[in-house]
Amino acid sequence: MAAVTQRSAPVTLGKAINMGLRKAMEDDPKVLLMGEDIGKLGGVFRVTDGLQKDFGEDRVIDTPLAESGILGTAVGLAMRGFRPVCEIQFDGFIFPAYNQIVTQVAKIHSRSRGKLPMRIVIRVPFGGGIGAVEHHSESPEAYFSHTAGLKVVACSNPVDAYWMIQQAIRADDPVLFFEPKRRYWEKADLDTSLEPGPLFETRVVRAGEDCTVLAYGPMVKTALQAASAVEAEGRSLEVIDLRTLSPLDLAPVFDSVRRTGRCVVVHEAPTNLGMGSELAARITEQCFYSLEAPVLRVGGYDTPYPPSKIEEDYLPDLDRVLDAVDRTFAF
């Protein structure tokens, strides 16, 4: 009986990360968690709920309120052979740590000619749609994807979240781990006995023929909804969950676009120099003769993230994805 319930049960995305963190801590005593309010409170999203109680204050560390301190000390801990997993409370609060991440975490492996691996995971709840005040809804992934030496991934569903967090912790490079905060409460059946493929792998999550839609994090669900919505009209969208933003894993993307001839990239981050810009360029270089239309981008507008009363107008939704799909057919 017990074995059956353990194999597969519905869990939320937040809980899946919690379970993944627990497993990683059980597997490797060098794994430490650091962050603001992650102990007794279990983090503002409860992702670390119960872990301090079970692993103690030396392994689940409520840090002083200073993000640069969190990342700077994580560097030292990593040098000493630990695997710190740092929680940044909200996307907009990663910037006090930006210096440490970009000038130190990203470069130390190369500067030390490989002698000092930076086995650090930086967990970042990101994106909007939760009605928050400013600095709580941002999508800063492109800043980090732009920086050599950092790896960047984003999970979109509970099953991936459970495995990807463990794989990120086992990785030998620093990994920014973006968690779609508005999907924390979404559920899926999780079978903890089946480890899926590698971390830095992009996947087709819905096969289709007419147009490829690329998404990651919170927008994967939106893209899937768009695909379902147009099915009845006889239009078939192939939806790809990028999962890894740096390095990009583009073979499945090129393969798809060569078949469909059309591509729309969706993310919440502003379009200008967002992930979509790099994807459009690379697809254009590799699939030029298969393209029926330019690669189109659907993203946040190039403005500061707006107040929550109008955030739904800022964020890409099903209609804006379909509008872009339509435009690829109008070429």
Partner: protein, 375 residues
């Protein structure tokens, strides 16, 4: 205890208790006491006005919390328990002084004549701050912990250089004292003898983390290491806060450099309406602090010293009721912002690229309107 021996060993949190250094002019029982370094002389009218401010900002807070519960606000950061610290600090400000708040200084905002509805509109999600920071001399709220402390120092350096005769008052919490920006602001203020007063409301918590997670010495003692005086005042004693802050601002204005004020208080509510304090603190702790309520002691003093009668308190209550009605009505009737406003003011002059984007946005939305008409 000499300053060289702070008497704190790791794991010892006794330092966190208010010690003999605590400056007090009004006891929790409402008894006026004297302090050798701080005096205050307020007329009965002024004392009643202070009581009125305390009572009304609490009313604003209670109303906003209720509005959040009813789904009218996205979130609310309550000032419950910190009214004394905020009204005391607010009263110390003069017209030329500039205040730099966090996200919780609704009481200071009140003293700067910022309409509570302008604060509420931010928490409702209508804007990121709609009051005029220069007209009110009350900066916009700053959510990124500690960033405003450097702004306060820079503004003060400006006052130093352009002959302004004011000072700045930088607000921040106990948790914020860990941020690099805040520590840098101390260094800058000290090196340039900037006319700034650092006003730290030590409400004992940074969300769930108790003060021991931020400091191993009383916060006010840190100032000395940066090169300026630090004082600890009973943050629930509005008179002491007013006296201490007034003196510090006057020192700043007259070229004597910065002061660090630790207003020792307690966050009686949750961190925000999204928080659940039962996960990390005991109810008994709050019960103990209830006895030190900042408003009750002023009320007791006014009654005891016969400076206010039942009629006065009834009038304040009635004013509170009217204010509550205005806030409720003003909130539920508050219009949503126009979506195109997100494109406004991004730059001094909108870039051509953004102008095009705004036009596409308008066109896209218009297409739904016309589609609706056709249907």
């Amino acid at each position: 205890m000499s300053s060289g021996d702070i008497g704190v060993s790791p794991g010892d949190s006794s330092f966190a208790e208010a010690g003999p250094e605590l400056i007090q002019l009004l006891t929790p029982e409402g008894e006026r006491v004297e302090h050798p370094d701080y005096a205050i002389d307020l007329s009965p009218e002024q004392l009643r006005a202070i009581y009125r401010d305390l009572a009304l900002v609490r009313r604003v807070d209670v109303e906003a919390t209720a509005l959040q519960r009813q789904g009218e606000l996205g979130i609310w950061a309550s000032l419950l328990g910190q009214e004394g610290a905020q009204i005391g600090a607010g009263w110390a400000l003069e017209a030329n002084d500039m205040a730099f708040p966090t996200y919780r200084e609704h009481g200071v905002a009140w003293c700067r004549n910022v309409d509570p509805l302008d604060i509420i509109s931010l928490f409702r999600g209508c804007d990121n701050g709609s009051w005029d920071p220069i007209a009110t001399m009350f900066n916009l709220y700053t959510v990124v912990i500690g960033a405003q402390c450097l702004h306060a120092v820079g503004y003060a350096m400006g006052m130093q250089r352009d002959g302004g005769n004011g000072a700045t008052l930088a607000f921040f919490g106990d948790g914020a004292t860990s941020q690099g920006d805040v520590n840098e602001s101390f260094i800058w203020a000290s090196v340039f003898a900037a006319p700034v007063v650092f006003f730290c409301q030590n409400n004992q918590y940074a969300i769930s983390e108790p003060i021991e997670k931020q400091s191993r010495i009383p916060l006010f003692q840190r100032a000395r290491g940066f090169g300026f005086p630090g004082v600890r005042v009973d943050g629930n004693d509005v008179l002491a806060v007013l006296a201490v802050t007034r003196k510090a601002l006057e020192a700043a204005r007259t070229g004597q450099g910065p002061t660090f004020i630790e207003a020792y208080t307690y966050r009686m509510g949750a961190h925000t309406t999204s928080d659940d304090p039962s996960r990390y603190r005991l109810a008994s702790e709050m019960e103990a602090w209830k006895l030190k309520d900042p408003i009750e002691r002023v009320r007791a003093y006014l009654i005891r010293s016969e400076q206010a009668d039942a009629e006065f308190f009834a009038a304040v209550d009635a004013e509170g009721d009217q204010l509550a009605v205005r806030i409720r009505k003003g909130t539920v009737e508050m219009p949503d912002p126009d979506a195109t406003s997100m494109f406004a003011n991004v730059y001094a002059e909108q870039t051509p690229y953004l102008t095009d984007q705004a036009a596409e946005f308008a066109e896209y939305h218009a297409s739904f309107a016309s589609a609706g008409q056709e249907a």
